[in-house]
Structures are given as structure tokens and as C-alpha cells.
């Protein structure tokens, strides 16, 4: 007889990041996964195909990533926490309906185990090349939330964080990992159920006759009725008013777009998370996210040992971008160094936020992780 594993596998495990992500989703209460096989995210689908039947959830392998994205939005509208996982090419296919999730305000989690692009690129090799696509990949004006894990443990933790943010702010949230984090195996600690903090979407507090699908509360987020709850939900990807009725005019459009953006912008202090190391007296700060953060920390420690006042700002939330913090650092440092596994994407945000107050130096790397020595070398050169 097969041993049925519990939903929350409390204890110590040796997982790769993809499997840790799947376990994080299940621990978050995710009971619907739709996906399409793609390297290097396939292990998430494989793990979910084994785990969903164990926890009375649904695993469905869709015909493509367009369908996967839509299926998770539909499932979430029926009240079940839902996730999909993909990599570059699939991420591109998901973008139109990622926008539908933004417009209809549907909680869900989209995981991108990044690889090299454009096009088929490097299917089996790492990259951080979809960071700007994460921000701007769908058409129109909107704000997103994207988290960047740097270890299998964080794949577990940040997937839970992503579900909580998606439920709280009613939008699909992105977990922007990469092939190294997805495939590396490390210790992952799964806490006890009571120690996992979960958030569920606000439900309407009024009778169905009085309920308006898109009437926001003070936090700019409207309560959400699920299909089958008796609220006669009306929702559309068209620009709509508070009732959810199509409203084809400039005034309604401005009102809606501003609110969709405001619910992220005005809640930035609640959403943004980061990690600072050796930052207080730092004259050189390395701004990093995802897997290069691990080389960065070592490089910064080496710099300190060499008498250089270096520090690290690690962005846990890459979007919304923590521009106030970067501006503040720009005012009191000689240089900001930005290592990325791409041709320089987030460094543009750093430059924009620094507003010319300090030097901004990218360390561009392709299809492999920076070594600590490579980052240390740049810190040392700048410190001269």
C-alpha cells in the first residue's frame, strides 16, 4: 500500500528548489496545479502530479502554457488556491492571461524557473533574463509583485509568501527563480502547520444584492466572491466599473488603472522585503537578487576582511522595486554594484533610482553564476 504523505511534511528534507516550491504551494493550501512540461521547471509539475491526488487536489497537464495560466485563474475563481510553473518560452505564452489575472484581480501564483533566452535559448542552463518581462510582459499599465528566492528553502518559504500576497492583494504573484535554485539540492525545513502563517482573500461582508465585485475597501482591494457562492459574480477583461460592468470611457479606465496600480504602490511598505548585510557604514553596496546573492555575500565578507567597507542589499521583492532604499544608498556610497545573470536588467532600475548620485556598475554574466572572486574583484577595483 502506498504511503500517503500529509499536506504539510513537517521536518527536515533534502529537496531541490522545484520540489521545495511544490511543497510550499501545498503547505499554502494550493489544491490546483495546471502546467505544461518545460525545462527547468518540469520537476514542479512532476511533484504536483504525485502530490495533488494525495491531498485531494487537482493536477492537470494542459495543452500549452496559455491554457495553464487560464486554468489556474478559473480554478481560483472557484475558490481554490492555484499555481502554475514554467520557464522563459512558457512565461511568454502566459503573459496575455497574466494580464487577465491583473484585470480581473484573481489570486494565483506563477513560478518562473528562468533559463537563457530569447527563444528556445538555453533550456537547461540558468539565467535571470525574464526580470523585465516579469514587470512589463503583458500589455497595458499595471503593477506586479515578484519575489526572488536564492535557495531551495526560500523556494518553499517564498512560494507561501507569494500565495499570501496574491490572496491579500488579489493578483497573480510571480516567483522569479532560476535554473540553479530550481535544480540545486539542499536542506529544506518544513515547519509545523501552526507555524505557517496563511492569508485568504477577503470575502464579501454584505448580502449578494448589495455586493459590488470591484468596490475596493480602504486598502484598495475589493472583497472577492467565488463562483457558486450565490453572489452572481460578473467579471470581464474589459475595462469595468465597480459593478464589474464594461465601461468604455476614459474616466472609468483612469479610475480602474489607477486603483489597480495603487493597491500595490500604496501598500509597498507591506509588500517589499529585503535583506541588508554590512550596510550601515558601507561605502560600496552590491545590490543583488536571486542566486547571485550567494556569491555576493561571500564577496562582501571577503571585502570586509580586506578592509573595504562593502555591504549587500538583497532584494527579496524585486517588483515593486525598492527605489527609495536605492536612492538613499546612492546618497551615501561611492558605488552600487549590480551582478545579474543577464545583459543588465535590474541595473536599469538601480540607475533610475540612484538618479546620478553615485556610480552604478553592472556585472553582466551569461548562463552561469558569478563567482565570489568576480564580484570581489569589482568591489576592490571600485574601492581604489
Amino acid at each position: 500500500m502506498t504511503m500517503i504523505r500529509p499536506a504539510i511534511r513537517t521536518g527536515e528534507h533534502f529537496f531541490n528548489g522545484d520540489v521545495a516550491c511544490a511543497e510550499g504551494a501545498i503547505a499554502s493550501g494550493c489544491r490546483f496545479f495546471a502546467g505544461y512540461p518545460i525545462t527547468p521547471a518540469t520537476e514542479i509539475a512532476e511533484a504536483m502530479s504525485a502530490r495533488m491526488p494525495e491531498v485531494d487536489g487537482i493536477f492537470i497537464q494542459m495543452e500549452d502554457e496559455i491554457a495553464s495560466m487560464n486554468a489556474i485563474l478559473g480554478a481560483s475563481c472557484a475558490g481554490v488556491k492555484s499555481m502554475t510553473a514554467t520557464s522563459g518560452p512558457g512565461f511568454s505564452l502566459m503573459m496575455e492571461n497574466f494580464g487577465l489575472g491583473i484585470m480581473m484581480e484573481i489570486p494565483a501564483v506563477l513560478v518562473n524557473i528562468q533559463r537563457g533566452g530569447p527563444s528556445t535559448g538555453l533550456p537547461t542552463i540558468t539565467g535571470q533574463q525574464d526580470m523585465m518581462q516579469a514587470r512589463w510582459g503583458s500589455h497595458g499599465d499595471y503593477e506586479v509583485i515578484a519575489l526572488s528566492p536564492c535557495s531551495p528553502q526560500e523556494m518553499f518559504d517564498f512560494t507561501i509568501k507569494a500565495f499570501n500576497l496574491s490572496e491579500k492583494y488579489r493578483l497573480p504573484v510571480l516567483v522569479m527563480a532560476d535554473e540553479i535554485v530550481g535544480h540545486m539540492m539542499e536542506k529544506v525545513i518544513i515547519p509545523e502547520k501552526k507555524d505557517i502563517h496563511l492569508i485568504s482573500r477577503k470575502k464579501p461582508a454584505v448580502a449578494p444584492e448589495e455586493y459590488l465585485m470591484y468596490q475596493p475597501e480602504a486598502d484598495h482591494v475589493p472583497p472577492m466572491a467565488n463562483a457558486g457562492d450565490g453572489y452572481k459574480v460578473i467579471t470581464t477583461g474589459l475595462t469595468h466599473d465597480e459593478k464589474g460592468y464594461p465601461a468604455m470611457n476614459a474616466e472609468a479606465h483612469e479610475k480602474l488603472i489607477k486603483r489597480l496600480c495603487d493597491k500595490i504602490i500604496k501598500n509597498r511598505s507591506d509588500i517589499i522585503e529585503y535583506e541588508e548585510r554590512y550596510i550601515d557604514d558601507a561605502e560600496i553596496v552590491v545590490i543583488t537578487y536571486g542566486i547571485p546573492a550567494r556569491s555576493t555575500l561571500r564577496a562582501v565578507k571577503d571585502a570586509r576582511n580586506a578592509g573595504i567597507k562593502a555591504g549587500m542589499l538583497r532584494l527579496i521583492t524585486v517588483w515593486p522595486f525598492y527605489e527609495e532604499k536605492v536612492f538613499e544608498l546612492a546618497g551615501k556610497t561611492h558605488a552600487l554594484i549590480v551582478p545579474e545573470i543577464n545583459n543588465g536588467q535590474i541595473v536599469r532600475e538601480v540607475e533610475r533610482s540612484a538618479r546620478g548620485k553615485t556610480k552604478v556598475i553592472p556585472i553582466r554574466k551569461f548562463a552561469e553564476m558569478h563567482t565570489p572572486q568576480e564580484i570581489f574583484k569589482v568591489i576592490k577595483e571600485v574601492s581604489k
Binding site: 494525495e54 480554478a75 481554490v80 489570486p107
Partner: protein
């Protein structure tokens, strides 16, 4: 007041959204009413009924329906509806959308949902062209027909939708026209109550675009054409039910079979722990 009477379908429509956007002579109003009538007669609790669409003229129907309604993106109603149904099997999920939406941009989703036997109902309004964008040819436009993107006559072979549906695995396949109101309404009711992936094609007039460019006359003339040229042939091989521009229209029920759905075939793991679906 002249319009003081209560319309029998009033409880099922969002009256404050009237007037609708559909053109004079369009078949959609009649088709939509047939759907509402079927919904009412089916006896399914309305709170458990959901209508989903993609984009196009037909795609506006959910916005007029006074039940849970989802107007999604172009071509994507089927995967969205798949998520709704699988996440809450208590829901009765119907897609009301057009031929371009379901079979051109959304064709891949159609064949796979039918293959999987997802327990959803598809009502496809086939007006042989993209009405919303002004009348371009699509995957159902008969050979030789004039549209704004086939000014010399369409040179592509069209899909025979009932044949596609049957070949893809639908458990219920029927075709009617807008003039077959009673047969259509009872066919939709039958599909709503049928377990598995059901498909109903409605041949419907688009006098503003397709009809005008192909000299088919007013909406009423198209309905007369349907009356005079439709032949009911239940359970014939849908392969034989091809449509042409000025030919006969074979209608009827072609497939009505039973087989396990996607949910019926889910693995049943014994000794389940307390891991029940968490509704959020």
C-alpha cells in the same frame, strides 16, 4: 407605460445592462433566449450555474446573464472554464461563445477539453465570420464566401465543427439553427443535464457582415433560408454534415454517448489523511 410587462426571462438577465450590443437581425438574442430557457427548465440551482465566454459578439452573453459570469480573453474560455469546473465540481459550467473564438484562436483548447472529457457544456454560435471586428473570414467561413479579408472569395476550406467535436471525443454533439428555437432549447437543456463534454453548434445569421457581403438578405431572410434548407438527420455520421455557402444545412443530434469524465478518472488513493480541498 408600454413596456411594463415582466418578461419571462427577466430574472435571468441583468436588465440594467440592456440594451444589448447585438445588431438588428442578429441571431444572438434568440440563441441567448434559448439558452436561458434551457437553464430555467434544467432545474439546476442557478447559484451553481456559471457562464463563461471568450471575446466576440457571442462573448458578450455572460455579461447579460444574471448568474456567475466570466468574460475572459479571446479563445481562452475553455481552459478558464476547465479550472472552474475541476476546482468546484458542483458547478454547472457552460461556455457561450463564437466560432472564431472557440475554433480559430481557441481550437487547440477545444480538442483537448473534449479529449479529456471535461464536464462542461459548449454552445458555439457559428455565424461564419468575425462579427465584432467587422466581418473577416475565419475557420468556419464557407469556401468562396466574401468577407472583408476575403474580398475575392474565401480560398480556405472550413472546419465542419460537429465532425471536429465528435472526433475529439465529445459525448454529446448537436447542431441547430437560430430558427429551431424549441429543438435548440431542449437540446441545450439535454446538454446541461448530460455528464461530460457537450457541444452544440448554432448556425446563426449575421446580416450586418456575413449576410450583407454574401447577398443573403436581412436576418429574417437568413432564417427563412434555414427553414427551407435545413434537414434533420439525427445520428448521421457528422462527417457527412459539411456546410457550404448556399447548400443544405444538416441539423440534429449526432452523438450522445457516455464515458468517464476527467474527474471520474482521478486516482483514488485510499487512506487519505485530512487533506481536503481548502476553499479560500
Amino acid at each position: 407605460m408600454i413596456h411594463s410587462e415582466v418578461h419571462p426571462m427577466d430574472s435571468l438577465i441583468r436588465k440594467d445592462r440592456m440594451p444589448h450590443i447585438w445588431c438588428s437581425g442578429c441571431g444572438l438574442g434568440t440563441n441567448f433566449t434559448c439558452y436561458l430557457e434551457a437553464l430555467k427548465k434544467s432545474g439546476i440551482p442557478l447559484d451553481k450555474c456559471v457562464i463563461v465566454s471568450g471575446i466576440g459578439c457571442a462573448g458578450r452573453a455572460p455579461g447579460y446573464t444574471n448568474i456567475d459570469s466570466y468574460h475572459t480573453t479571446h479563445g481562452r474560455a475553455i481552459p478558464f472554464a476547465t479550472g472552474l469546473k475541476l476546482a468546484n465540481p458542483e458547478l454547472s459550467v457552460t461556455i457561450f461563445s463564437g466560432d472564431g473564438d472557440l475554433f480559430a484562436i481557441g481550437g487547440n483548447h477545444f480538442i483537448h477539453a473534449a479529449r479529456r472529457n471535461i464536464d462542461i457544456n459548449i454552445i458555439c454560435i457559428n455565424n461564419f465570420n468575425y462579427g465584432m471586428t467587422g466581418g473577416q473570414f475565419g475557420s468556419t467561413t464557407p469556401l468562396g464566401s466574401k468577407t472583408t479579408t476575403s474580398p475575392y472569395g474565401n480560398y480556405e476550406h472550413p472546419f465542419n465543427l460537429v465532425y471536429v467535436a465528435a472526433a475529439s471525443g465529445a459525448v454529446y454533439v448537436a447542431r441547430w439553427t437560430t430558427i429551431h428555437v424549441r429543438r435548440l432549447a431542449s437540446s441545450i437543456e439535454e446538454a446541461l443535464l448530460k455528464k461530460g463534454f457537450t457541444f452544440i453548434e448554432i448556425i446563426s445569421p449575421c446580416p450586418t457582415n456575413f449576410g450583407r457581403r454574401n447577398k443573403l438578405g436581412e436576418g429574417l431572410d437568413e432564417l427563412k433560408y434555414y427553414r427551407n434548407h435545413s434537414i434533420i438527420k439525427h445520428f448521421i455520421d457528422p462527417k457527412e454534415a459539411d456546410l457550404t455557402l448556399n447548400g443544405e444545412i444538416i441539423v440534429g443530434k449526432f452523438v450522445d454517448i457516455d464515458k468517464p469524465t476527467f474527474l471520474d478518472n482521478q486516482p483514488d488513493l485510499s487512506q487519505k489523511q485530512d487533506n481536503k480541498v481548502t476553499k479560500t
